[in-house]
Every structure is written in structure tokens, then in C-alpha cells.
Symmetry: C2
Subunit: 476 residues, 2 copies
């Protein structure tokens, strides 16, 4: 095994934590449930942020910032919302040395503080739509935490939009789901299924929750992003009305949507291997590392000078680093950059210089390619593209191999334990049969697909009529 | 007066709030002391962040993220630090429905949580330096708040670095002060004095606090950024030691430095006028707005098509907007963009098209310039540069006019009330005389300059010997 990394086949959870530790991405803090995101991990989050922010702005959204604190009474204004979130809040009872008249909740999500504000901003259809996103930290008290995947405090973005019609809100909800799908597949190189959550699984306060669901390498599902059609629920709770074009007064229609630092966990679990982290090239803070190789001091001077000359034109075109540290041997450096998930390694020694070549090594496949130096930069670019596609294809193949249509409940119960995977099953729509997945297999309905998988069948649990298969899996 | 904006000469505080309201930058939230940063205000903060982040990275820093919550006991580990910050903390006493064993403080600043973490990261000189910055929200319970300038929650960046020697820490502290000075002068177009805070004014826990101080248009000082040499104070408090190159064990040397959303307040107060906001071009989210002018529908179609054609090549080169809204008249639009501080307005009507010209209007001077259309984009660029310089020069002139050397205490007391300003005065160094400025004039020593203003003199309060003048002013 690679130094310090447990094999996936041996202990997947342990492997996940080892990859994080060896790539120096994050660690538990001394505050229960909260993590420290270390520079290597935060740099990946910055790449995720930059790309998502661009996509949000391209779809007409602007950023704003709302308070961290929410008066406790606000949370109570939407009945389902408080039921869902109150049990996991952190509560500020004292400020400036005094007991507060009303306790303040540290935001677990910002619908309530934002809709109490939108009330002041919206009078007429002319004030709509409002298309706002916020980058922020949120807190949800968690008993069992796991770095990136589930932490008491996490970083995220939350979009909160307001619309004049139900149709517009629905269009927005689906538009942002599509942004998430594109981001997951094109940047995270992570294939996702899209669909609707069941009533039991939807966001507390939403009319409908759409989601993207990905398969991790242990074949469990990870919910990677959600987009909620909130209907008029929050407008009613905060009495936000507007006058429409024909002069009638109506409640405003709302959406909210979010992804979080959990995506860093998804990235790690989708692609990394027993040698450590693998970062998809489009989200890699460092895309390539160049390791000059020498045996004597004389060679060192020559090779380092040559590499410096060779890479002098790369600046601004590629995120790269030359690792000319004197105190470490090449093998040590190879291992270090491998564990850190840098997509491409370039090796250049005296022989290579003589032959006007360099060796390019792909992190995902380990493939070694000799490249003429004048074509090196172009080859790096084409290999980064190739690796981005290869990671997606590999993840897709894994999902295909481990996705099953299953119509027999006892077979399902065996199969979900070993080999595990995603199961398209018929479901009658009852809460009781939904609960049976959890009770028998600790699995849940991950989503109801949009228009796919429509066919007549019988509920895998109770045998009642069903017109569509749903996706069931164990999940994070 | 411009609609909705009080004149500065009439009520400066009211003017400040009016400018913010009319430019739609921010508002008070329903949570006491916390503000909502609206999209127009947040866009300025994003420009500030992007530039500072670039400057931090150019000076070798990386970003990371540490928890929002700090165990109360951590705050107490550094005696001066707890004295300074404990009275203004927000305290979480309940989480997940239960009373916490130890209350958690919402970070007022992160030295304690970060140094408790650095303890795990640092063993040897090889682990140093650590050059980390964090973009985060912090909370300091404030009784009297003012949008952007002083709010209970605010957004900021906080650098926290660790070094092997006292010299390195000092160099870092001064390097970041210089980054702040450059940012203030070259981007905010705001001249600043740099220097050292007195013992009474320094950061709670620092050995020395350096600062940049700017003069606002009401001649009061605003502390716009601070850089602290923390010596070994936090390393001692958290027992963070390292082995140096010769094998000796020593405490680690520390710095911290920060600027906040207060800079948006500084920007507003430095440049805006009785017609509303003025944004320095280098930080303007929207650098130019083009207003097509027409009198008939026929003209409208023609002018809008012409403007669309003319500006089609500008995308990616300039942050601009064409305001072709049909329901508003040009005068309304001019007024709106003026209040919002867009640096340059372009007017193009049928006559201009005939003459192949456009009218360029500068937000700062109101100057109107006729420009041949083929030179329009170049002229916008040169006028943006000219405006950036002009704003700096205007602010510098204001400061020069209102900065005085004063050696007579009763004269000082009169002059600081009317006309007000910055006062270079001799001070003996005693706390008692320092307190006299506050007691008699509600003024403070803003800074002790570095090497300037050294001369023999007599303390303006007590007459004792002094070797240097210090800067005294009323402040925000």
C-alpha cells in the first residue's frame, strides 16, 4: 500500500480519511464537529467556487450577504421548516455580556432571514424576479460527522430567488438543477442522476426538492446538490405579497438551491485511488508538477536551468510548479505529488535533455509518455483534457456496472449488501413502503426520475401498482 | 439637493446613510446590529476581495478556513486578548437542543482557534513560515452600529502567519501594512498615513499594531487596516514551540492582519458627493453605462441598434451596461446611474450618430466630452485612469488642507472642533496625556509615524520633552 493510505478494498472509510490526511486537505478541529479546511483543501473549494460563481452570474444571478444570526421566532414561522431545522441549531443566548431578550439561531440555512428581508423589497411585479446567491457558512448540529461530507459548520452557496409566477419559479428551480448537473459532470467529472425527492426526503419547507445524486466508489449514493421549489410557503410565512401586472395581489413564488464543501468530499470519493487523491484537471489548483532529475551537483545546475528556461513561457497558461527541492530524492517527490492528486507529472533528467524529450506521467492511469520538448505544453493540455474525460468515463462505467433494475424484494435486500449499488425499483408511492427500504436495508429512495423509467409494474415492497421506477440506494 | 440625498454640509451622517440607501448598497437587518449587504454593495466588496486576494497570493499567502466557534476557555489563554474581546462576544450556549458543556464564542477574530491548531502543525523550523489568510465573517457585539463602518457581524480577511524569528515576523507585519497602503492608495484612491498604534490603541494581544489611517470628507480619521506583530504572545498562550536550525527549542513568532467590509464605508466617505456614490474606477463593478437617447419609436430602434453595434466589441474589455429601458426617460436614468456611482456615462442620440460622436460624462467632475465614436473605447479607458488619479488627488488635497502642526493645546482644542482635521502634535508618551485628547476633545492618537516628523519639541498637553510628533484626530 502507498505510505499511510489504507486500501479501499480493506476499509473504505479509513481509506477516505487517509487520502485526506496524506493530501493535507483538512482535519478535525478542537471544536466538536467542525473542521479546519487546510490550504490544499481550500484551494479546491476556491476552484469550485470560481466556476460555480461564473455559472450563477451567467444565468443572471448576483451575490449578496445576509446576517449569520436568525431570531428564533423567524424559524418558527414556517411549520415544516422549524420542524426540520430547530433540532439541529446552535443557539446564541448571550451577547455583549448580557442575556438576549430573544435567542438567536446561527443560520442552518437562510430562507427565513432572507424572506423577512424580501418583504421590504417587494411590492410590485416590477420588483421581480430577485435572483440572489450568497456564499456563506452555515451550522447544523451533527452528532456523527465526517470530514467534508457532514460537519457541524460547513461552507456553501445558497441561492434565494423570488418570482411573480409559479411557472417562473419552477423554471428557475430546474435551471439551477441543470447548472448543478453540468458542474458535476463537466467539472467534477462525476456522472449524476437527476430527479425529484420524495415527500419524506424533501427540504423542510419546500413544495418540491430536485437533486443530483452520484455514486461513490463504495457504491453508496451521495446527494451532491439540491434545488427547491418553495412555492408560496415562505411568502405566506413572512407575508410577502406583490401586485401583479393586472393589479391583483398575490404571494410571491420562491426557490432556493445550494451546494456545499461536501462537493470536495464527492470529488475525493469519486476519483481517488489507493495511491491517494486524484483531482479532475478542471478543478486542480495545480495542474502539473515538473520534477527535474539529477545525480550530481553539476547535473543539478544544468537540469534546473534547462527546466527553468523550458517552463518560462508557461506562466499564465498553466497552473504548474517546478519541484527543484534539493533535500528530497525524485521518488519522494513523485510520491508526494501523487498523494496530492496533481493530474500530470513531468520528469526531466540529463538524458531527456540530450534527446530533447521529457516524460509525462498521468495521475489517473500512471501512463508514461515520452514527449518532444517543443510539444510538451500542448501535450500537457491535451492530456489534461483526456484525463478529465477518462475520469468521467471511469466513474460512469462504475455506476453502470453497479446499477440494477430489481423487482424482487428479497433479492434486492441481498444485492444491496453485496455487491451494493443503485437499484431502480417500482414503488407504489406509500410512506410505509418507502420506510421499508430504510428498515430492512438502511437504504432510501434517492430520487424519482423525471420522464425516464416510466413503465407499469408492481411495488417491490407491497406489490401494488406502480407506473415508474425510482432510485434506491444506501447513501452518505 | 439630489433626490433623497441630504447635503454633506447639512448633515454628514445623514448624507452617508442617504448615499447608501440611494445607491442601494446595504440596509439594517431585523437582527440588531447586523446589516444586509445588498447586491450593489456586495459587488464592490467582491472587487475589493478579488484585488486583495491577488495581492496576498503574490506575497506568498494561501487561503484556508478555521471554525466559526471558539471554546470560551481558548479566549482566556491570552490575558490581554480576553480582556479586549470577551466583553463583545456572542456566546452559543445550546447546540442540537442541549446545553453545551463549554460555551462556544462566535469568533470575534481567530488568533486563538488558529494558534491552537498551529500547535499541531509546527514542530521544526522546516514547518515555518506558515503564511495563511482566511476570508470569513466575525462577530463583535456593538452597541452603536453604522452601516459598513461598525456592525455586529462583518466580513473580513484575517492573515495569520507563523515564523521562526522575530525579524521575519516584523518583516511580514510591515510587508502586509505596505500591501494595505498600496491597496488603499492605488485602488481605493484613498491616501493614508501609516504608523504604529500607541499601547492604549493596539490590538489586544499584540506586541505592536501598525495601521493605515485615512481622512474622511468630514475630516475625521478612519482606521482602514491593521497589521499586528504578535511576538510570541499567542505561541506562549498555546504552547507552540519549534526546534530551530541549531536544535534549540523556542516559541514561534506570529503576525496577524486584517481589513473588512469597513473599506466599503471608507470608499463611500472618501469620494462620494451630494449627488450620491462615487466609486473609484478600479473597484467599480460597472465602469461605464451607455444611455441611448431617442424621441420617437423610430429613433429608438435606430439608436438602440447603433449602440448595440458600437458596443459589440467591448465585451470582456470593459464592465459596461447599455441602459435601453423603454419606460424611463434619459434624465431619470442619468440620475439613477449617478447615484449609483458608475464612473462614466455615455450618451448617444440621433444627432450624435449623424456626427459620428458620443458624449462622455465623468461622474467625479461632471465634465462632458464629445468623442468621435471610433475613439470612444480608448477614451473611456483613458478617462477611467484619469478619474482614478483625480479622486486620489482630490482626497489628498482635502487631507493637505486639513492637516496641521499644532503646538498649543487650547488652539488645538478649538481647531479640532472647527474646522477639524488631522493634527501633528508633540506627545510625551504618557498614558495620562494620551487620555487628555479623549477627555477634552473626544480625539485619539491615530498613530506614531515611522521615521517622519522626528524633531525635538514639548508635549502639547504637559510640556515634557518629546522627540516626535504623533497624529491626533477624531475618528470613526
Amino acid at each position: 500500500m502507498a505510505q499511510g493510505i489504507t486500501k479501499r478494498s480493506e476499509d473504505y472509510s479509513r481509506w477516505y480519511l487517509d487520502v485526506i490526511a496524506q493530501a493535507d486537505l483538512a482535519e478535525h478541529s478542537s471544536v466538536k464537529g467542525c473542521m479546519v479546511i487546510k490550504p490544499n483543501g481550500y484551494a479546491i473549494w476556491e476552484k469550485i467556487q470560481a466556476q460555480l460563481d461564473k455559472m450563477f452570474k451567467e444565468t443572471g444571478h448576483v451575490n449578496a450577504y445576509f446576517p449569520l444570526f436568525i431570531p428564533e421566532s423567524y424559524l418558527r414561522k414556517e411549520a415544516e421548516h422549524v420542524e426540520g431545522f430547530a433540532p439541529e441549531t446552535a443557539v446564541v443566548t448571550h451577547g455583549g455580556g448580557k442575556k438576549l431578550e430573544e435567542p438567536l439561531v446561527v443560520r442552518p440555512t437562510s430562507e427565513t432571514i432572507i424572506w423577512s428581508t424580501y418583504k421590504k423589497w417587494i411590492q410590485s411585479y416590477r420588483d421581480l424576479p430577485i435572483l440572489i446567491n450568497q456564499w456563506a457558512n452555515v451550522v447544523r448540529w451533527e452528532l456523527r460527522t465526517r470530514l467534508f461530507l457532514r460537519t457541524t459548520e460547513f461552507l456553501w452557496q445558497e441561492g434565494h430567488t423570488a418570482h411573480a409566477t409559479a411557472d417562473e419559479a419552477e423554471t428557475e428551480t430546474r435551471r439551477m438543477l441543470e447548472v448543478y448537473r453540468r458542474f458535476a459532470e463537466e467539472y467534477l467529472a462525476m456522472p449524476v442522476y437527476t430527479g425529484v425527492k420524495t415527500e419524506a426526503e424533501k427540504f423542510a419547507g419546500a413544495v418540491r426538492t430536485y437533486c443530483i445524486e452520484a455514486m461513490m466508489q463504495d457504491r453508496r449514493a451521495l446527494q451532491a446538490g439540491t434545488s427547491h421549489n418553495l412555492g408560496q410557503n415562505f411568502a405566506r410565512a413572512f407575508d410577502v405579497t406583490f401586485q401583479n401586472e393586472v393589479g391583483e395581489v398575490d404571494y410571491v413564488w420562491a426557490t432556493s438551491w445550494g451546494v456545499s464543501t461536501r462537493l470536495v468530499g464527492a470529488l475525493i470519493m469519486s476519483h481517488s485511488d489507493d495511491n491517494g487523491l486524484i483531482i479532475p484537471p478542471r478543478l486542480a489548483p495545480l495542474q502539473a508538477v515538473v520534477v527535474p532529475i539529477w545525480k550530481s551537483d553539476e547535473q543539478m545546475a544544468k537540469v534546473v536551468a534547462h527546466v527553468s528556461e523550458l517552463t518560462s513561457t508557461w506562466k499564465g497558461l498553466l497552473d504548474f510548479k517546478v519541484d527543484d527541492r534539493d533535500q528530497y530524492r525524485p521518488g519522494y517527490k513523485f510520491n508526494e505529488w501523487e498523494k496530492r492528486g496533481v493530474p500530470i507529472r513531468i520528469e526531466i533528467g540529463p538524458k531527456d535533455i540530450e534527446n530533447n524529450e521529457a516524460v509525462l506521467v498521468r495521475r489517473d492511469s500512471g501512463e508514461k509518455i515520452s514527449v518532444p520538448q517543443e510539444r510538451l505544453l500542448d501535450t500537457i493540455f491535451s492530456q489534461l483534457d483526456a484525463m478529465q474525460s477518462a475520469l468521467f468515463e471511469r466513474a460512469l462505467a462504475l455506476r453502470q456496472t453497479h446499477t440494477f433494475e430489481q423487482d424482487d424484494f428479497s433479492e434486492f435486500r441481498k444485492q444491496i449488501e453485496e455487491p451494493g449499488g443503485f437499484f431502480w425499483v417500482h414503488w407504489c408511492g406509500s410512506e410505509k413502503c418507502e420506510a421499508a427500504f430504510q428498515e430492512t436495508s438502511k437504504a432510501t429512495i434517492r430520487l424519482i426520475p423525471f420522464d425516464e423509467r416510466r413503465e407499469d409494474g408492481r411495488c417491490i415492497v407491497c406489490g401494488a401498482a406502480s407506473s415508474q421506477r425510482v432510485l434506491v440506494a444506501k447513501s452518505y
